[in-house]
Symmetry: C2
């Protein structure tokens, strides 16, 4: 039975997503600022945990944070040919400031390759200055036509890494290291979401990149969501902004740069991958509240006894478990259970007078609805039990998503089979088509090549579309 | 002897500040984006530690983080009379987006009372929804005429808290709690900088506030720097944006709001309060690197022995001490000592072959230059010794700043005495003047009333300017 205010996934997946965002109190539409949202406290807290997990990995791999200006001289966008084509149509422009018209307009950064490239050109002189390994946490703005909370908003929050290297090999190694050790590792371990790591096709790559890599995850409607991208920019931006260095032989060389980013759309991915018809489900490692304790009492005498037990039970949790005791008095236990279910708290503990007598608590798992997820356990050893349970839930969510993806993935050998498969999931196939072929398939099916997975099968096959012998194995899907 | 590239404070304090910012590699001028800077990794890392100390206090006092849109419809600014006067002249305006002219321009937030007020009006219905206790970490933009790195930049980073309450008393309690428990506590304990807590005069208060409180710190040239402000906004914004709630008696009431913020100008305060002619000095609790270990060796054999000792010595430091081992081979120890001094690392440890033989290390305190700050200690018990030393340095910096402020503060009883005193420090005096009197004094002396300290002396005195009997004791100073 679905919750009030939440339509079933099977009935209307797109509406279900919006219902979850609203009922779990994650975001509000900023109707007065076109295409923008307010990240409400519950939604923003998930972002804070995403940031913390990513930031730790970004720093562990040798990067440091910095902050570059929000505004970019409009002419900067024009310096890299593909980049201007990709971003110029969707920028917001600042034309007046301090009461005066500006001689040259600024754009609000849609991404920062150009402004950061300008500074890197100033900072890099010799091979001794390399590599530069900098990341930035920032807001960016892209004036998109169709927006959806978290998944696509005019303003969004992200991290963007920008690095400079002395050789193509080093830039490529950086690009792949970020893909594997930062992005895939984070999304799989913390978000409990399996990803395909792959290379984007020429048609789908970042405007201005030499090669774009991505991680792609499957949502519960079988569509793909690009959860992170890492770009080897070659020497394109180094040439556009004149980032040069003097090498060991005293020769001036253009440098090699990379950029890579993940954004608040990860919150959308998290919602769509794990939640159910009862509301949000948050993986324990990212849950702002991992355990909610609901004391149950009918009068002050019961309250005293129960709250005493709750205090005893939760002693020592601080620093180990992120928990909340829901002491609100004007709401019934049933109302509270429902609210925390909708908000996706992984574990609920109920303590009533009978539990106090028996030395037990009721323990409910959010990921297994109803009776199957509920058990009655002794208060003794509860802390360790919960720590283990949270880890188990994290694993269970990952395994469930992995099994779901396996179930919805298929290798196809004809275009008709592909068309059928992408209605509900991922279609793997051999590919030897052109950009134009890819475009035609997109027009006909609304599916795109999500990536050329890094794990390629041996040998080759027949291209699904052209019938030519093909060496490249790709995955097609509809996507967010 | 001052360092190369850094002028002595006594010679030119303003230039000394800029020299420190450049030589310690804290920021770069973004000459292509007027009045903006790049927060370089060394400078941004200090901000990250500031954020972390503030964020912990903001959360401990019951607040949660959220994120509101960067852009504000221009008409929103006009809704509060004083607010528009204060901010409209210095906003940056977005007039075009997605290739089209907008029907109504947006401004980039100079502060967010108006856009947040709009949402609070939607969210608040009943007394049960109150209080709302939200904080936001964000970038803001004010098109200032004269800018200086960190102290005043067109774009800056800050936190802005925005709360809603059911009564004036609750709003006032929140405003003061933030002043004492969040801002003053943070700046004194983490930044090692004593502050005066006080109320702003009508002339100096925030545009749209009922009452503005502030913390004021003294820099090494005797000038004041406002390090944080907390505003009781009364019902001004609640009326402008119609933030109302139904009270216990089912009557609709306007709510009471507060706002409070500190920004990246704290980095400027930190530099100006503690640093010396040799470079930056960072208090240990905010230092991204607290201890630098410089191994000293002449050949590979020595290197092996020394690095072995360094590894042994630093075992167990991770998680306890933020440290860096400077293994760079193309630089001399002297060059490294100098670099880490300029960058303000609190403690330097030198380990050479002789130290390995004797089981000792050389240990240098950044806050006490030269021989006085250097000692030779046994490797045994070094970790505990360093932990204690870092705490001692933190205290020493605070005590030094406190003694300096005491030395440069004086109670004055005539206008002439005031004029002399504000040349080098703070002038305390009795006050019964008007806004116009305050303005005249500012024109004549460039000093303003920094605040009416919360700690007021008993009784009263004679107003320094009007000669009338006065009940209010104030502090005058020139300021940043």
């Amino acid at each position: 039975m679905a919750k009030e205010g939440i339509i079933a996934r099977a009935k209307d997946y797109a509406q279900w997503y919006l219902d979850i965002v609203r009922e779990a109190d994650l975001a509000d539409y900023a109707e007065v600022v076109r295409g923008c949202i307010v990240f409400k406290p519950t939604g923003y807290a998930i972002w804070e945990h995403i940031q913390s997990g990513l930031d730790a990995r970004i720093k562990e791999t040798g990067h440091v944070n910095a902050y570059f200006p929000l505004l970019i001289p409009k002419s900067f966008l024009m310096k890299e040919a593909e980049h201007v084509e990709g971003f110029a149509p969707e920028v917001a422009e600042v034309t007046h400031a301090g009461g005066e018209k500006l001689t040259e307009p600024y754009v609000i950064r849609p991404t920062s390759e150009t402004i950061i490239g300008y500074f890197y050109a100033k900072w890099v002189r010799s091979y001794r200055d390399l590599p530069i390994l900098i990341n930035q946490w920032a807001n960016v703005m892209r004036w998109e036509m169709r927006t959806r909370p978290f998944l696509r908003t005019a303003e969004f929050l992200w991290q963007e890494g920008h690095t400079v290297h002395a050789s193509e090999a080093e830039a490529e190694a950086e690009t792949l290291m970020i893909l594997h050790d930062v992005y895939a590792d984070f999304v799989e371990k913390e978000m409990a979401l399996p990803v395909i790591r792959g290379l984007k096709t020429e048609k789908e790559k970042f405007p201005g990149a030499l090669r774009s890599y991505c991680i792609e995850a499957m949502m519960q409607d079988g569509r793909a969501l690009q959860a992170g991208t890492s770009h080897n920019l070659g020497q394109n931006f180094a040439k556009a902004f004149d980032i040069t260095y003097t090498d060991h032989n005293n020769t001036v060389q253009h440098a090699w740069t990379t950029s890579w980013g993940v954004s608040t759309r990860l919150i959308g991915a998290l919602i769509m991958a794990h939640s159910d018809d009862d509301g949000l489900i948050v993986p324990p490692r990212l849950a702002p509240v991992q355990v909610v304790v609901v004391p149950i009492f009918k009068n002050d005498a019961e309250k005293a006894v129960v709250m005493d037990a709750v205090k005893r039970i939760t002693t020592g949790w601080k620093g180990q478990i992120r928990f909340k005791i829901d002491e609100r008095e004007h709401l019934s236990p049933g109302f509270k259970f429902n609210e925390w279910e909708v908000k996706g708290v992984p574990v609920r503990i109920e303590v009533g007078p009978k539990d106090v007598d028996k030395g037990t608590v009721a323990l409910a798992r959010r990921d297994i609805p109803g009776r199957d997820g509920k058990s009655f356990v002794t208060q003794e050893g509860l802390t360790e039990r919960i720590v283990t349970l949270l880890a188990d839930i994290q694993t269970a969510l990952y395994e469930r998503a992995l099994a779901f993806r396996a179930d919805r993935s298929k290798t196809v050998t004809s275009y008709d089979e592909l068309k059928a498969q992408i209605e509900t999931g991922f279609a793997y196939c051999w590919w030897d088509g052109s950009n134009e072929d890819e475009k035609r398939i997109q027009d006909e099916t609304r599916a795109t090549i999500r990536c050329i997975p890094i794990d390629q099968p041996q040998g080759g096959g027949t291209c699904i579309y052209t019938g030519r012998p093909a060496k490249t194995f790709v995955v097609f899907a509809r996507s967010y």
